[in-house]
Amino acid sequence: MGLELYLDLLSQPSRAVYIFAKKNGIPFELRSVELLKGMMFPVFLGEQVPPETLASTLAELDRCLQLLEDKFLKDQDFVAGPHISVADLVAITELMHPVSAGCQVFRSRPKLAAWRQRVEAEVGKDLFQEAHAAVMKVEDLPPADPAIKEKLKPSVQCLLQ
């Protein structure tokens, strides 16, 4: 039996692994696992996130993005230096998550936007879009099974706290 990768392309770390394996021509069997979780809490729960929670979550995200720019990216082309590394894959797949939820993290940050373009170019536009296809189409997700929804609700709310 060859290499098997258990991934959910709605999950950021799964996407980083997927992109890395495909880009490096690593032969593997994709075993898709559906976790039914993600940043799309309002979509999934069918409820509004309280504005204070959203505000503090976004503030925290903003702080992290600033650190990403100032401490890691600085004046380099990529997060760990002049060449693309796994650090960029992990970072970009994480940041595509809030983007897919409608949070335009790159719009007000030209340095990050430029870095994103570079990463996309290095990875290859087709592979990048393929990996993110599932998460970009989240609005088209069918409504979650009510029983599963109820079961996952406490852990989703817990993640937000």
């Binding site: 650190l67 100032d70 401490k71 706290q161």
Partner: protein
């Protein structure tokens, strides 16, 4: 200029690095940074680590943050014995797996127990909140269950058959709540046996030396030295633990 290690031995990752450097005879200058006095927030330290966290390393002009990265850097640079970070592919992957998992699964809940039991009461002057402590211990339980019930049922150490960086990190993390009276080993016999093995392998004197600070009860007068800072720390702690 020799290697500089910026550490506060109250912090488990700092202790892991301290023990590793001493055990491997790595020459270094210890640069103490007192977290309790907010020294990690001061401008001088910002130059060392803009992330305002410990541990940090300075090797000539090279600055490095993040305990796992620092341990790996030291392992490679000083060619530590291979049991620490094996060269065999799958053994190494096992150590990597533990080191990645432990940040949120062990370090976060274990340090929250410590903060609730020791640091928050120290700076606020209030007694420990037993409901909160119970809740936080509950959050650590799944990791302890996994380590005791699954990992250590299969082998003597956490990643491989020998002591590795995984055990070092886990040891100092799990000693944190234990050192201040929340003995997390008492309900988990395999973990308790593992702890004894790790202590014996590291050397009881070195372990004692590294844990001297965290094992001492805190002097209440320390908290009153800078009431404004104490208040700020209490605020941050309450937010983190809520």
């Amino acid at each position: 200029m020799p290697l500089e290690l910026f550490l506060d031995l109250y912090s488990p990752p700092c202790r892991a690095i301290y023990i590793f450097a001493r055990k491997n005879g790595i020459p270094f200058e210890l640069r103490p940074v007192d977290l309790g006095r907010g020294e990690h927030l001061k401008p001088e330290f910002l130059k060392v680590n803009p992330l305002r966290k410990l541990p940090a390393l300075k090797d000539g002009d090279f600055l490095l943050a993040e305990s796992v990265a620092i341990l790996l850097y030291l392992s490679h640079k000083y060619q530590a014995a291979t049991h620490w970070y094996p060269s065999e592919l799958q053994a190494r992957a096992r150590v990597d797996e533990y080191l990645a998992w432990q940040h949120t699964a062990v370090q976060l809940p274990a340090s929250n127990v410590y903060l609730c039991k020791s640091l928050l009461p120290h700076f606020s002057g209030q007694p420990v909140d037993p409901v909160q402590l119970d809740r936080l211990l509950g959050k650590l339980k799944p990791a302890l269950q996994h380590l005791d019930g699954e990992v250590l049922a299969a082998k003597p150490f956490l990643a491989t058959e020998q002591l590795s960086l995984a055990d070092l990190m886990a040891f100092t993390e799990l000693m944190q709540p234990t050192a201040v009276g929340c003995d997390i080993f008492q309900d988990w016999p395999r973990l308790a046996a593992w702890r004894a093995r790790v202590e014996a392998a590291l050397g009881p004197e070195l372990v004692q030396d590294a844990h001297r600070l965290v094992l001492q009860p805190r002097d209440p007068r320390d908290a009153q030295r800078d009431p404004k800072l104490a208040q700020e720390l209490v605020q941050r702690l309450l937010e983190r633990l809520s």
